[in-house]
Amino acid sequence: MKNTLRKGRVAAACLTLLSVSVLSACGSGDDDKKTEAVEKIGKTEGKVSILAWPGYVEDGSNDPAVDWVSAFEEETGCEVTSKSYGTSDEAFNLAKSGEYDVIAASGDLSLRLVASKEAQAINTDLVPNYANVYDFLKNTEWNTVDGKNYGVPHGYGANLLMFNKKNFAEAPTSWGAVFDKAELERNKGKVTAYDSPIYIADAALYLMKTQPELEIENPYALDQEQLDAAVALLKEQRQYVGEYWSDYLKEIQAFETGDSVVGTTWQVIKNNIKNKDVDVTLPTEGATAWNDTWMLSSQAKNPNCAYKWMDYILSPEANAQATEYFGEAPNSPEACAKTVDPKHCETFHAGDQEYAEQLWFWRTPVKECLDGRTDVECTDYAQWTEAWTEIKG
């Protein structure tokens, strides 16, 4: 506390000085950003700062039984500090502060980090456990740019369709359950959807399959006209939505009580619901999905400990613990062998290539169309965000 106070006084003094030049003293240069991969790992710094989804970096302080950080600290001598974030968008801002060495990023964040030069390329030779990772997760469009690898895969999962059997004569097999007007009418006020601009891709995926004349090739590459169509669909859906969810307890509870009866979900949410009438399915249209990768900050102050962490968390033991706790598919067959629940990988379809092929992993929409079109300009994430505000009204 003493330290805090001293810092407070110093800051007050700075404030006095700086308030004179309010406008001039902002922003930091790009000089301290290092985007090239390193050749070898140096001496560890003794600490590492991690930014991740809740449940990815557990040190036992929340639940003594859930702890894979302490083992890492003992093994490497790198003291871990971590912060968890609620949405990819929040993480983007936190990452830009430069306070974090390693970031667990979903596909809707990773490319944004690379584009804004916040990510450092990774030399996968220095991450021995990378060899185990499923091949179809390696060198993908959301973790590799211009042949340079910017992230090592952690785990993945799909945005599934969850429904209450009581409200459906027969189990729905299509996203029409949440997009088709006739279907929606039956569950008015009890439909739920993921509260993020990236959910626009779910609508685009449905349009891609049901309205071929829109010529959507990739739900993350929408030109203005295609985006407008998706937005119109979502605005219509909005009339029937009871609530949007972004934190998962909210959805678990809503399905338990019956406040929500149909909507997008994650497998882990389904697993936490005791209500036997609630079930999930992967609709025929396929689904959007996330695949998280560990990325290295270009402003990393502790790159060596960061490499140690990436290797550690990719190890079968740690990866199994972390992905099982969060509720997603692990990144390697070796990790699948280490899960506490022997059926974990089966439940989450880990390594199931056929299953994975139906998934459209989250990516960041950018102006340059991701599907390769060059004759039009696509809509970027800022436009999606604006559209999302309008959809919610």
Partner: protein, 266 residues
């Protein structure tokens, strides 16, 4: 005042009725802290002490509690000093710009938290270029806590009048002596009341805190926010809330006793 017995009874009924209603959601929290369902569905289908056991083991909650107490204590101390100075200046002197200063004190609490939050966030990061930390929370909290101390002290000063201070000065006491021996003792209960409210405001603040907390600076509300939405952790949050309610009765009761004792002496 001459109120008919009926209207007295109506008022009493209303007061106790509403206060009872105020406690219903709190009872729900208590019930959920022993509810086996981790998503807290109603009605509970059993009783478990599992969450209490886990809460007792939660180092994260304990650390967050200590952090919150520290932040609230320092922010309250700062606002006690600043608020009292301001109240003395505004109540005992008249000067140009007095109205503007008065408005300025109210502003941090009168403007929505989200505005104060992003203004300070932008101020710290954009203008000062400092990293957010624990002290940035303290500065933010002190800023909006000043007004509670200010309000209480100002009201007391207005009621006190100046006759005692004048008498003290007439008898030859210096300005500081008069303040220490005459003004301050009379302010004691006002300071206590203002300080308590400031402490409570800071202790439970989440919106401004979210915007001004640095990495690793986890106050209790932030810990709760981080854990509230995790299926395995949410019931533990309920336990923490129950513990808070129980322990809060002690300082609130003590403060009440203290302040009325002070009044009694006067």
């Amino acid at each position: 005042m001459t109120l008919s017995p009926l209207s007295r009874r109506v008022l009493a009924g209303l007061t106790f009725g509403v206060l009872a209603l105020i406690y219903v959601p709190l009872l729900v929290v208590v019930a959920n802290s022993v509810n086996p369902s981790q998503s807290m569905t109603w009605p509970p289908d059993g009783v478990t002490l599992e969450w209490w056991r886990r809460a007792a083991d939660s180092a994260g909650a304990r650390e967050a509690l200590v952090t919150s107490l520290q932040v609230a204590a320092v922010a309250t101390a700062l606002s006690l000093v600043l608020g009292t100075l301001l109240a003395l200046a505004l109540q005992r002197y008249s000067f140009f710009g007095k109205n503007a200063v008065n408005l300025l004190v109210i502003l941090p609490i009168a403007l929505p938290g989200v505005v104060t939050g992003i203004a300070l966030n932008n101020g710290f990061k954009g203008i000062l270029g400092v990293d957010l930390a624990l002290w940035t929370i303290v500065v933010a909290h002190a800023t909006f806590c000043i007004v509670t101390v200010f309000n209480n002290v100002q009201a007391r000063l207005r009621r006190m009048g100046t006759s005692l201070e004048e008498a003290s000065a007439d008898l030859g006491a210096g300005v500081l002596t008069t303040f220490r021996l005459v003004t301050l003792p009379q302010l004691r209960s006002a300071l206590l009341a203002g300080g308590m409210l400031a402490f409570a405001l800071s202790f439970d603040e989440i919106i401004v805190t979210t915007f001004t907390a640095g990495q690793g600076a986890t106050t209790l509300p932030i810990w709760i926010l981080n854990n509230m939405f995790r299926p395995n952790q949410a019931p533990v949050v309920n336990v923490v809330a129950v513990v808070l309610i129980i322990f809060s009765i002690i300082p609130v009761w003590l403060a009440q006793r203290l302040s009325s004792d002070v009044e009694g002496v006067r």
